[in-house]
Amino acid sequence: MASVWLVLVLWIFVNALIKVIQASSCAQIHTPASVVLAGSPVSVSCSIEDECPLTKGKDFRVAWKINNHFAPSNLSYQESNRTYGLIIPSLLDTDTFIQCAVCEGENCQIVNGVQVKARYPPPVPQNLSCSLNLTSKRFLCQWDPGQEMADLATKYTLHIFSVMSKKVLSYKYVIPVGKHFHLIPRESYPLLLKVEINVTAVNVLGNATSETLKLIPLETAMFDPPEINGIEADAVGCLNYSWSLGKSQQWLTIAISLELRLKTVNNRQNKELVVPFTKKPRSKLNVCDLFHGTNYSTTMRVKYSSLSKWSEWSEWSDPKIAATVMKAPSGSLDTWLKVDDQNAQLYWKPSENFRANGWNLFYTVESMEPKKILCVTQESHCFFNLIERVEKVYLRATNAAASSNHTEVPVYRNRGLGSVSCSSNVHPQSETSVEIEWGGTPTSLSVTGYVLEWRSLNEMPAAPLSFTLMDKNISSTILTGLRPYQPYEVSIYPKYDKGIGIPCTLVAYSIQKASSVAPVLNTREYSNERNGTIRGKQSLVVHQNLNGIEMMLFVIPACIGLSLLVFVVFACFGKHERVKMCLWPIIPDPANSSIKRWTTTDSMQGMPPFKEDKEPVLVYLSHFSLLDLDEKEPFKSDYVKENQWSHHIDSCDESHSSFQTCVRCDSELDRDSVPYATVLFDGPYQNHSSCPPPYVRSESTQPLLGADDPGSPPPYENVSPRGSVSKVQRFTAFPQNPTEENEELWEEFPMLRSLEITDTDHI
């Protein structure tokens, strides 16, 4: 029952669909191909249906639109009664929309249309390559498809041809869409026979075939690294190798290309050489022209053929080390012998052609007359004693196998020969090299060559000496291997037939920079922190480019001369008074001075005029105290009430000019002043007692109190308040009748003269 209903529903649907289609179609449009080759002609036909309402009973015409533009009328034609055609001579647009329209007058209605694409045949597949994986036995071929057209399907097919047993075996493989490689199955290719492989690309518009590869599949394979099974050294210094291919390729018996790479191990003359071969597996390989007594590390690699552009080298094999046989050292040694009395220093180094040919190399220095071994060392120098009659020494090198021939070293003791011109120039070349130039020697002597020696001056202990021998025609050379900012002592010795000449020595830096420390004024030439040649120093005299030595040699004599000149000048003109006053003003000796003398003009002679440019600063050197004995308080001998009085008497009134001394006892100002005297009054000081106050000298060390007795005055004495005053050794400041005694006292206390009290004076 359900199936019946289903059929009924389907029948109704299909009928309705047909009717819909019939109602909408007014014309059928047809074109032979919706995709055409670009540039080719395109024809389209439009058949108007009889029942088309746009045409029934109407005068109509058919028009064509191409990409929304009406096509020229010359492109369209009427094929039959109701069939109309359009021919586009050459379609170039990639996508062209062609529409058929029924027009009544100017009113056109599109009734059908078609899209025609102009495309190209597929591009030729490029860069076809194949490679064989010996492990997986996969033979992979891949190519570059080029610019593909996304909306045009392109089919790729790989073809492989081989000729086996007179039969052409041909296989083709259709490549899945979107892939551009293929793994050719094992049964489709031989290992050692030639095959031909290509790829074709096909689309609706045509096909294209790649370049055909002609190759032997095995030649595209990358072999496993080979193995060096053994190395033998023969007597002539060659190494013989036995080797084999990797395990999975040991079935091969054909000759293949291989390379041996040899590197010296722990050898001064580092050498690497690569030797190519074409050999069958398990054959012997022979490499010669190697250094004797030298360890070589050997690796090898293989490929099918060096002539094949498809072959790839394998990885390098594991290295194997073997040594060539030793023989006696060969070649020559450069030597440099320096003799000073009986002390000889011999330096040597291998020349270009020297070969150690072995290991454990050591050197022997010996003399023949007398026969004596002077030195045996592994170093490159030797110091020994040399007696006068030895004219030659002999140097030979010995390794574990044998000794070399002797190198004869003449002993030159003649030193008084010509010298190299010291106009040497030093030209830094790089951070580690410097060019040294030197001048010629006197023409009367024929130079046979030069020896250049150099040594770093900064190394402790002293660095070994390096040297090089040069031809007589050379006047410059470049030293390399120097350390930057380090001084090197370089000496150039001329060599003559009969001996060595006097060298020229200089200091060279490969590169300089500012000194690390301030210069030290001494005559030492070399300082570790100089970092270069000091070319200028700020000094009293020198403001030009002088080196340290030249500057010191100029400054010292100049200073000495100047000092002598000054001395002479003063000696001649020193007695002139004005010179005296300018240079050394007369300062009175306080120990031999007195105030009296100061008051005379004589004592002012020799003193520079005093210019009172500013107010004098009062300095209170000493003070004297006024003491009233009428105080209720008992007199204390050791206490002078200076403060009591001082605070009240603090004015220096100019009206009281007799008071020439202003007694101020300001505790702050009088702190440093020295007590001069104490004046005792038996009544208030203001009362002008007729009894002259006694004066008691204070303990004082006043230096101005007279030269006769410059020492301290007698110690302070207590004086009784009454009646005893007269007993006190006193003096009066106010002599009623100036007597000679009073004059003497004033002389003793000159400053107290200012305390002269008269009736008219009020304190």
Partner: protein
């Protein structure tokens, strides 16, 4: 098995793996050399040495790959390749598959021509047998590889025949072996028989390949300017297979 002059053949094999020839082997080689007279050397000299090397390489490859194919194809511990006890015990069932040609010593041009023709025949036989058995026992990649190598060696020997100027069509087709191969399917009725047939085919292929190897070693020795370059692995395999 290399029935013909087995001692000579295997003397060559033994000599090829040692670094220097042992005195007995040296004598045998000399004998071979004497017998191989001037005319055959002319034939051998015109052979392309690269072709000889390629063929020699492939026979080595077949000998290396046969055990791998056997291990991957036949899952039967009672059938071990190269086991001489099993070889003897299967003598009765051996008639199920046609025998391989027996290779002659190469002593003159005629024997050389016959030997090459028999190599071709034998290789084709084993190729046909494998193709027949594959219909019943699905091949593995290793069997596929082996077949390709047999096909390639077959092609190289035919190339040598052409280089030597031999006419391959002179030798009549071995119709008997063709019939037997065709009739093999009658015996492949049980899984056991299929496996036995596969084992016997590979065992015979291995033995035949050892004989081919012997022949190539002798060709190399007789060909001037061809140094010996032997794979010790395959030679040892053949010596073991011969029970030496």
């Amino acid at each position: 098995m290399c029935v013909r002059s087995a001692s000579q053949c295997y003397a060559l094999l033994i000599a090829s793996v040692s670094h220097s020839l042992s005195p007995p082997a040296a004598i045998l080689v000399t004998l071979v050399g004497i017998v191989a007279s001037a005319p055959i050397s002319d034939k051998l000299d015109i052979l392309n040495k690269d072709t000889i090397e390629q063929a020699h390489s492939l026979i080595n490859k077949i000998l290396e790959d046969a055990p791998k194919a056997h291990a991957a194809w036949i899952n039967n511990k009672g059938l071990t390749l190269g086991d001489n006890t099993i070889r003897l015990q299967l003598n009765y069932l051996k008639s199920v598959i046609p025998s391989a040609p027996v290779l002659q010593n190469i002593s003159n041009i005629s024997s050389m021509e016959t030997c090459l023709a028999d190599m071709v025949k034998g290789l084709q036989l084993h190729l046909n047998l494998l193709n027949e058995i594959i219909k019943k026992l699905a091949q593995t990649d290793q069997v596929n590889v082996l077949k390709s190598e047999i096909q390639e060696l077959h092609s190289l020997i035919k190339k040598l025949q052409k280089q030597a100027g031999f006419d391959p069509s002179k030798h009549a087709k071995d119709e008997q072996s063709q019939t037997l191969v065709h009739d093999l399917h009658k015996h492949l009725t049980t899984e056991f028989m299929i496996q036995v047939a596969a084992h016997l085919t590979l065992q015979q292929l291995q033995d035949f390949s050892c004989d081919v190897l012997c022949s190539f070693l002798s060709i190399r020795r007789m060909t001037s300017n061809m140094s010996m370059a032997e794979n010790p692995k395959t030679v040892q395999l053949c010596i073991n297979a011969a029970g030496l």
